[in-house]
């Protein structure tokens, strides 16, 4: 076992743990927005750590791996939040309103902008949590 393999293995393990916690979060959270919260954050750091770990393990053969992995990490850091934003926004416009504890109306500031009733809208029953 070289030092690269040990450090890389630890990074891959950390990544795997965070990816598992992200999956558990998707299972446990009550609605789509909270699931996205758990999913996005955990998969971003999980995938980053995993890819960095692969780069470190492969550094024994050639240093070029770590540079390529760094580029992939940068692309993940840019694209992951954008996709989660697009999913969340699309879900809101399909009238999947967020889960809110109790009956607090002022907790949903986006409703006044996006939640207007549109007669031409034929999307299914509103307020359903999925």
């Amino acid at each position: 076992m070289s030092i690269y393999e040990i450090i890389g293995g630890i990074l891959i393990l950390i990544g795997a743990v965070f990816l598992f916690l992200g999956g558990l979060g998707i299972y446990r959270m009550p609605d789509v927005y909270n699931r996205l919260q758990a999913g996005t954050k955990a998969t971003t750091l999980g995938a980053m750590s995993l890819i960095l770990g692969v780069g470190v393990v492969k550094m024994e053969d050639s240093w070029t791996w770590i540079v390529k992995m760094a580029i992939i990490i940068i692309f993940i850091a840019f694209s992951n939040p954008i996709s989660s934003h697009a999913l969340a926004r699309a879900m809101y416009h399909r009238k999947r309103y967020p889960y809110i504890k109790g009956d607090a109306k002022d907790m949903d500031a986006y409703r006044e902008v996006a939640g207007k009733d549109d007669p031409s809208d034929t999307s299914p029953d509103e307020g359903e949590n999925i």
Partner: protein, 171 residues
């Protein structure tokens, strides 16, 4: 879409060229003469055709002060990313699921679309927040544990640390 002046086009062309060239060298990871020459021509062609598409920034972005703040921003961002993952882990592993979700809004002072995009992405990756929409200057944020519904206080809680640095980079 407003038409661009010649200077803006030139700035976009050279900045795109520079970034694409960095990506090319990082991917090929060799300073072999043939590969570098091929890269220069390919990236020049791409950045010429993508002048109307990419709206990153002007030449001001290459000032040393701004690059220093970019590195500082990156360090703060990594710290917040790790904090947010530990936060998610704590919430997921607690049996009672301690969440109090809701959507809050706040107004941002950032001038350009690109800087707003960077702020929204950073907010998504920081503890307990997910940006849902940006309409003009107003950000709509899903917050997993709402502490306040007041826009000003929400701004202080969520965005202030990032926006102070972004204003130094992009303004």
């Amino acid at each position: 879409m407003k038409s661009l002046t010649f200077n803006e086009k030139l700035a976009r062309f050279f900045i795109n060229w520079l970034f694409l060239m960095i990506v090319w060298i990082a991917f090929t990871t060799s300073f072999n003469k043939q590969e570098v020459i091929a890269g220069v021509f390919v990236t020049m062609l791409i950045s010429f055709f993508s002048i109307p598409l990419f709206t990153c920034c002007t030449f001001k972005i290459l000032a040393p002060k701004r690059i220093f703040y970019m590195v500082y921003y990156l360090l703060i961002f990594i710290r917040e990313l790790i904090k947010s993952n530990l936060d998610v882990a704590r919430r997921v592993l607690t049996p009672s699921l301690p969440i109090n979700p809701g959507i809050v809004k706040f107004k941002s002072k950032l001038p350009t679309d690109y800087s707003k995009m960077v702020l929204a992405n950073s907010i998504t990756l920081t503890p307990g927040t997910l940006s849902i929409d940006i309409i003009d200057d107003t950000f709509y944020i899903h917050w997993i544990d709402v502490k306040t519904t007041d826009p000003e206080e929400a701004y202080t809680e969520i965005a202030e640390t990032f926006e102070k640095i972004l204003l130094k980079i992009f303004v």
